[in-house]
């Protein structure tokens, strides 16, 4: 019922993927989920139950900005776009992820 901010690795990863998706251009929630799914060959399926809370959370953190707009099909949708702060956060998150994956790789390669 109550949501406490429990920063965990999984949540951070979702943030990273969303920010990266948005760095390619403004997009609505469905589009973000589709993009991540298609680019990763359906390996990463976004848990849609967490997507929207995460999007709203990131919006309030100031990393993304949202506004209502009309899509090509003349439908009203809420489009998110990346902010400057979001870009900075994206860089940091990406670096962190790289460090993490390198470290995991090192441990795995150790004979």
């Amino acid at each position: 019922m109550l949501h406490r901010r429990k920063p965990d690795a999984l949540q951070g990863t979702l943030d990273l993927l969303v920010l990266k998706t948005l760095s390619l251009g403004p997009q609505h929630g469905y589009g973000i989920a589709s993009h991540i799914g298609s680019v990763s060959d359906e390996v990463l399926r976004v848990e849609e139950g967490s997507l929207y809370p995460a999007l709203h959370r990131m919006e309030h953190a100031g990393w993304i900005k949202a506004e209502w707009d009309v899509t090509e099909n003349n439908r009203r949708a809420r489009l998110y776009r990346l902010t400057k702060a979001g870009e900075r956060h994206l860089e940091e998150a990406r670096d962190k992820w790289n460090r993490l994956s390198k470290a995991v790789g090192k441990v795995l390669r150790f004979a």
Binding site: E48, G49, Y52, P53, E59, H60, R76, R78
Partner: protein
């Protein structure tokens, strides 16, 4: 900005919900279309999309939470829920609300009074640097306990003051102003010209006093207050320069002071300069020494101690004359004291106000305990609700927060009603408060009061809500969710809960007892005060105070008094009449000091000091002063060559020693004026308490008014003993005096009992207020105990029923319940007595003739408490309960109850009580059904 938007989302919930709904709907539609394009049918596509998506309501809630300010949203939810719950239980809500409103309202009103009188800075600039200054000769006492500085000290100090930058005198006096043909009785202020700028007042019109106008012989000038100018002089635009008759003398108006200016109290309507008599060069200049009430402003950087030091030095430079001894008594070298002006003005009522504050605090605590108990017992009914909430994930903290919010909403409601109550109470107070209550105009509801109310609300929330909330949020979830009330009843009524409830009840009883003790003490004190023998008989006596016009021939004045008396005595219904220069409750003092041979023989001479009355024959008879030896004045004394004198017992004992007093003669008693005059004591009377019932008797001497010596003077008081009610003669006496001399100023004509009652107004006010609080506390505590115990008894219905079935008689059940109630009451009484004893020092200043640890009060109060509380609470309820047949919850209940009732019915039938038995069955089964 995100913060702001989240706030908006919290507040505008429905809008936020709609937006999220739309967003999620869009997503679902897209997903459905994707599946349709992949080949599924519309229905299946939608189903799959939903499955992939998850529960929309859950996601929506999570999104909402992410959007909102968590705690604020919860608070809003809780508040709405609390309001709904309150509406569902109107009687509970109403009684809790009224209880809290009473507690908070009364406390706020008393706080405003206490703050306004004791704590608010005086309405003058730099009020914290204004101090009262007075002189004391250690060992000697001033007449009437007044605190003065002598004019000699003043002039010595005012030459080169270093520690103060302004030193001046002030005072208040009763006066009459002639408006048209009427004499209006009012109060006027006297103030040194230098003080007016210090008090920060600028005139509405005209100017302030100059220092020259405070010199003797200067032209008489007066400053009018705006209220007087508007009410009595019709805003006369030409008021400046007009002449006004005050006490028969002409004064020129030189200015008008604005309505907000009040000095030294709220009663003065005009001001004249304080003329401080200059010291004559004659070293024994007795008629040139006077006392005055003085205040000063501290020079920058100076402290009160420095002022005291400088003042003491100045006072010691001045020679001690007979007149000084008359003022200050015979004592050691003078010491000057300094006290902040604000505290000084409120000094007399401070102890009373502190008692009032303690009393109302106790009332508030009792109210809180009551409401806390109500919440505790109500928590029982909500066990299941909490269990459900806990089972779907509410944490304990969340539940506690919700319960606290409910208490908070109730407190806020109580505070709002209490605010109105406080406002009403304060209107009543200012209406009913005794005259001359200091600084009453500084009492009003302002931001301090509001801050206090807010604090009180928060405190009551915590007091009432915390314990029940913590207790309510802790329970056995599974047990509570189980069917049937039996388990829950046990779960809540565990020993811990009972102890908590008992603690609250004991606290209530203790505080109520403390209040009752305080009220009893005050009542006894007031009764003592009222039954003091004042040395005269106030009823039925009519008094009339008259000011003779100035500049008139003294012989004519004397004749006036004599003619007036003979006419008054001729009126029907007059038993005796007399006149004097003073009368009881009269605020002026006339003191005579003269040397007498020391009766103990230790020194050749002692200085006798006494209040000196000049009276006509008939005065003492009219007042009913008792004669102890010798005789009272007679007509022939007025013409005799000897100066005849009456003394009171105190004077005789102190200054005339053992032996026969009547017939004693002194030659040249008043050394400075007597030339061979013989003074003879012709009688001894009982002492009179001229300054009110709470004053000490003082030595008094009486001289008969004569044509040449000892004139009555300009201020004459007539006292008339009537056979009927004094008020009846008020108009005739007034007309008579007016007829006799048109120019004479008739001040107040009223029965002496009025004056006496007015002098006791403050203790009466305090007693009435505290007694009211005590009664309210008693009612609150009694209803609290009643409610809780009766509910507890009803909870124990099952147990009582079983006991009845096992053969317990009604009386033994009664005894069982009573015993528990009495245990609480007894512990409360013990604690209350201890608490009252601890607070005895607080009561000290407010009592008269009764010690704070007065045993009678301490004994009576618990009886009152017991009488009120235990019996009504325990008795009726338990009787009713015990007479209900045994019942248990559950389906078999009805059968069991029916059987039980059947048995009683059969028994009852044998005794011819058929009908009542049947009715009881019906009530019992209905109750059984309702319980579920």
């Amino acid at each position: 900005m995100g913060w702001l938007r989240r706030l908006r989302s919290t507040v505008l919930r429905s809008r936020q919900q709609r937006e999220i709904d739309e967003e999620l709907r869009f997503h679902l539609e897209q997903r459905t279309e994707e599946f349709i394009r992949a080949g599924m049918s519309a229905g299946v596509a939608r189903q799959q999309a939903l499955r992939r998506f998850g529960s929309p309501s859950l996601i929506r809630e999570r999104t909402e939470d992410a959007d909102r300010l968590g705690w604020l949203g919860d608070l809003a939810d809780d508040t709405k829920y609390a309001l709904r719950t309150m509406r569902r239980h109107p009687s509970f809500t109403l009684s809790a609300l009224l209880t809290l409103a009473l507690g908070i309202g009364a406390t706020s009103a008393v706080f405003s009074v206490v703050y306004g009188v004791l704590m608010r800075p005086l309405p003058y600039p730099a009020a914290d640097r204004l101090v009262r200054v007075w002189e004391e000769h250690p060992g000697g006492a001033t007449m009437g306990g007044l605190r003065w500085i002598s004019n000699r000290t003043y002039w010595a100090w005012n030459e080169q003051p270093r520690t103060v930058d302004v030193l001046g005198a002030y005072g208040s006096f009763a006066a009459t102003i002639r408006v048209g043909d009427d004499d209006v009785s009012t109060f006027g202020g006297q103030v040194s010209p230098a003080l007016l700028p210090v008090l920060g007042v600028t005139p509405l019109a005209g100017r302030l006093f100059t220092t020259a106008e405070a010199e003797e012989g200067a032209s008489r000038v007066v400053l009018l207050g705006e209220a007087l100018w508007v009410d009595r002089f019709n805003r006369d635009a030409g008021i400046i320069g007009r002449s006004v008759r005050i006490d028969g003398e002409a004064f020129t108006v030189i200015g008008v002071l604005p309505r907000g200016f009040r000095f030294p109290s709220a009663d003065e309507t005009f001001w004249r300069p304080y003329v401080i008599t200059r010291v004559s060069t004659d070293p024994e200049g007795s008629q040139r020494t006077s006392g005055m009430t003085a205040m000063a402003r501290l020079a920058p950087g100076m402290t009160a101690a420095q002022v005291e030091a400088e003042g003491t030095a100045m006072a010691r430079r001045v020679p001690v004359t007979m007149a000084t001894k008359a003022l200050f008594g015979v004592g050691g070298p003078p010491v000057v004291h300094v006290r902040p002006l604000g505290a000084d003005m409120a000094g007399a009522v401070r102890p009373v106000l502190l008692v009032l504050a303690a009393a109302v605090a106790a009332l508030l605590l009792i109210a809180c305990a009551n409401v806390a108990n109500m919440f505790l017992t109500r928590g029982l009914a909500r066990q299941r609700e909490f269990a459900v909430r806990a089972s779907i994930g509410a944490g304990r903290g969340r539940l506690v927060r919700q319960l606290l919010t409910e208490t908070f909403v109730l407190s806020v409601g109580g505070a709002i009603v209490g605010l109105f109550l406080a406002w009403a109470l304060m209107r009543v107070t200012s209406f009913m408060a005794p005259l001359h209550f200091p600084r009453l105009t500084d009492v009003y509801l302002d931001v301090h009061a509001l801050a206090f109310i807010t604090g009180a609300t928060l405190m009551t929330t915590l007091l009432c809500g915390l314990l029940p909330a913590l207790r309510g949020a802790r329970f056995n979830v599974s047990a509570s969710l189980r069917q049937g009330n039996g388990a829950t009843a046990e779960g809540f009524q565990g020993p811990r809960d009972r102890r908590l409830r008992d603690v609250l009840l004991v606290a209530e009883a203790a505080f109520a007892l403390m209040l009752i003790i305080a009220a009893t003490l005050l009542v006894r004190s007031f009764v003592r005060l009222a039954s003091v023998d004042p040395g005269y008989q106030p009823a039925p006596v009519l008094t009339a105070h008259v000011m003779l016009p100035p500049g008139s021939d003294p012989d004519r004045d004397g004749q006036f008094a004599r003619d007036a008396l003979s006419r008054i005595r001729a009126l029907p219904g007059v038993a005796s009449a007399g006149a004097g220069n003073m009368m009881p409750m009269f605020l002026q003092h006339a003191v005579a000091t003269f040397p007498l041979p020391d009766p103990s023989g230790v020194s050749p001479e002692i200085t006798a000091r006494a209040t000196s009355y000049t009276i006509t024959p008939g005065y003492l008879e009219a007042l009913g002063v008792r004669l102890r030896a010798g005789r009272l004045f007679e007509e022939r004394d007025e013409g005799s060559g000897t100066r005849v004198m009456l003394v009171n017992e105190l004077f005789a004992r102190r200054y005339l020693g053992p032996g026969e007093v009547v017939g004693r003669r002194f030659t040249n008693l008043f050394r400075r004026v007597d030339r061979g005059v013989i003074t003879e004591v012709v009688g001894v009377v009982a002492p009179m308490l001229k300054n009110g019932n709470d004053s000490e008797p003082e030595p008094e001497i009486y001289f008969v008014a004569k044509r040449q010596q000892n004139r009555l003077g300009k201020s004459v008081s007539f006292v008339v003993r009537t056979t009927g009610a004094p008020v009846v003669l008020a108009a005739p006496v007034r007309d008579l005096l007016r007829d006799l001399d048109r120019d004479v100023i008739i001040d107040r004509v009223q029965p002496l009992t009025n004056l006496l009652a007015a002098s006791m107004a403050q203790p009466r006010f305090a007693t009435a207020t505290v007694t009211t609080f005590a009664l309210l506390a008693l009612i609150l505590a009694a209803t609290g105990l009643f409610g809780v115990l009766s509910y507890a008894v009803s909870q124990r219905g099952r147990e009582l029923g079983v006991r009845t079935a096992l053969g317990a008689s009604r009386t033994s059940l009664l005894g069982l319940v009573l015993r528990e109630g009495l245990a609480v009451a007894t512990l409360g009484i013990v604690l209350g007595i201890a608490g009252a004893a601890a607070m005895s020092r607080l009561m000290q200043g407010a009592l008269f003739g009764v010690t704070p640890l007065d045993p009678i009060s301490f004994a009576v109060a618990p009886l009152v408490l017991c009488q009120w509380r235990s019996r009504p609470a325990c008795f009726p309820r338990s009787v009713r309960r015990a007479s209900v047949p045994p019942r248990r919850s559950g389906n078999s209940l009805r059968a069991a109850a029916f059987h039980g009732a059947e048995r009683r019915h059969r028994n009852g039938a044998r005794r011819g009580r058929r009908v009542s038995g049947r009715r009881r069955i019906w009530r019992c089964s209905r109750r059984a059904t309702r319980r579920r």
